[in-house]
Amino acid sequence: MSRNGLKRADFDAIAEWIRPGARVLDLGCGDGVLLKYLKGARGVSGYGVEIDDDDVLGCVTNGVNVIQSDLERGLTEFETGSFDHVILSQTLQAVKNSERVINDMLRVGREGIVTFPNFGYWKNRLQVLGGHMPVSDNLPYQWHDTPNVHLCTISDFENFCAGHGVKILERKVLTNAKAVSALPNLLGALAVYRFQRA
């Protein structure tokens, strides 16, 4: 699932929020490259959760702890409050029950971090205006083979948080790995949020 956005411009943005030595859970961790990066850059410990066989193998190859599990079934293996950060990197848009997953994140972790491709990015809007579903670095799939079922915009996500007891602590909006400050919902390709229970 998390092979969305192969360039992973969000890694540095996430790493800046992670305290050194923190305990981290990475949901939809793919082949574990983010956790491997965070182990090296921040000395974190923790686990990835991944459902795909090849990605689980990738994690083991990368020396990253991985629990093969469907995160939509609930994070029943993980105790309440057992992580400093729970990350959902480029996976939110592929999750069926977004509300439940975000609740679970805030149950097992002190803070949640999500990153997702901003569907409101002008290039996406342009492709839709042109009569097509957007295809880009951050949305590399065709409409018929995409794992993405819940694409959203920056405004959509912030409305969701406001309505679901989720307090946004910080936001970063990126385009081509550079920070975007003006008109983020239009000019930002990738959204990165840090949040906790309101």
Binding site: R23, S45, Y47, D53, V56, L57, C59, V60, T61, G63, V64, N65, V66, I67, Q68, S69, T76, E77, F78, E79, S82
Partner: protein
């Protein structure tokens, strides 16, 4: 010359015997004054003795894990597809040890051995042994071989229970525990299967209350039935359906009680084969060891508390169609390890073969174990 052996085999192997004369107090309270363990080794122990891997066997297997015996190319070890040069557990990198557990019937001291107190075979008087007893004897063998810490202890099914037990009994002697198709204890259903198997043996008129050696006979009928029951539980329903379905041996119903369905033929064949080489007293004891294994029981049912001493890194693997030791049971182990903040990876292999899958060569499964051992190897090289 075509030896009929896969090129990646460890080749010809020879079992060795270690004699122990320091008395061993068993979980039951019984004491064994002296005993022997038969074992095999493959590969080379490195200079700092850090590359040893102990492979623990399950119900019916033995120390003969890989390779074959001289002059008998058909005698491949029970996990030969997993262990050898270039295989997932690579004997070019690791020094691998297989040991026949105490109470076994493949050369280690067991019910068939002579009881020094009577000069006759132990038979029914051989004590009931537990997973913990096996781990204690394996540790003594490790001492004998000069291995302070294993790079890994590995096993499937009952063998996995031993790997798990190693991790909390000897936390500083295991770097990695590879726990495949395991359960933290047996369910009532599992114990029930074992009890039917035991009753088949015990009620065989040739059992003679376990002292059949003196009657020049063996309870082979009971053993056959015991093995047939076991085999039913090792295969998934789907696997049995695809392998045998309702196929008839002779294409038509015979209106008799001869072997008619292919599945009957298969089970009888497995039962016969097993009863030819396996000892009934050993079978009884091993099923008891399975039934008794329950690390959480000493901690009020709290598995996390039982595993709290563990320092090893874990790879836990289950198979989706294994109903004898289901994935859910492996997840209980994983949960307890997560609660202890252990280093653990868990993979659920989507394989059709049921419990037996741990012995088969599924590419996803073998690639995973190979990748894990590659990491282990880099730590100790």
């Amino acid at each position: 010359m075509d030896t009929g052996i896969a090129p990646r085999s460890v080749g010809i192997v020879t079992p060795q015997t270690a004699k122990f004369t320091e008395p061993l107090r068993l979980s039951s309270g019984a004491v064994i004054d002296a005993y022997e363990l038969v074992y095999e080794t493959y590969g080379r122990l490195n200079a700092d003795r850090s590359n040893a891997v102990l492979v623990c066997h399950a119900l019916n297997a033995s120390h003969h894990v890989a390779g074959h015996y001289a002059g008998d190319p058909a005698s491949a070890g029970w996990w030969d597809n997993m262990i050898g040069p270039g295989k997932p557990l690579d004997t070019e990198r690791f020094f691998v040890i297989g040991v026949n557990n105490l109470g076994g019937c493949h050369g280690s001291t067991g019910p068939q051995s002579t009881n020094p107190a009577t000069g006759k075979p132990w038979g029914a008087d051989f004590p009931v042994v537990t997973v913990e007893d096996w781990v204690a004897t394996q540790a003594r063998l490790a001492d004998r071989l000069g291995i302070r810490q294993f790079a890994a202890v590995m096993g499937g099914s009952l063998g996995a229970m031993q790997a798990l037990a190693w991790s909390y009994h000897f936390p500083d002697r295991v770097r990695h525990a590879i726990v495949i198709a395991c359960a933290p204890n047996l369910s009532a259903q599992n114990i029930a299967f074992n009890e039917v198997a035991r009753q088949a043996i015990i009620t065989d008129p040739d059992f003679h209350e376990g002292h059949y050696y003196g009657y020049a006979t063996r309870p082979t009928r009971g053993l056959r039935v015991a093995r047939m029951i076991g085999h039913i539980t090792y295969l998934s329903d789907d696997e049995m359906a695809s392998k045998f379905g309702r196929q008839l041996k002779n294409g038509k119903l015979g209106y008799s009680f001869e072997t008619e369905f292919e599945i009957e033929s298969y089970l009888r064949h497995q039962g016969r084969k097993f009863s030819d080489y396996f000892d009934a007293n050993t079978y009884l004891r091993i099923t008891k060891a399975l039934d008794y294994f329950d690390p959480a029981s000493a901690h009020g049912g709290n598995l996390a508390a039982a595993l709290a001493p563990a320092r090893a890194h874990f790879l836990v693997v289950s198979f989706t169609t294994d109903w004898r030791f289901s994935s859910q049971r492996s997840r209980e182990i994983v949960k307890a390890l997560l609660d202890n903040r252990c280093e653990v990876s868990y993979a659920e292999i989507n394989a059709p073969h049921g419990h037996d899958a741990f012995l088969l060569e599924d590419p996803r499964y073998h690639r995973l174990v190979a990748a894990y051992f590659d990491r282990v190897g880099r730590e100790v090289e």
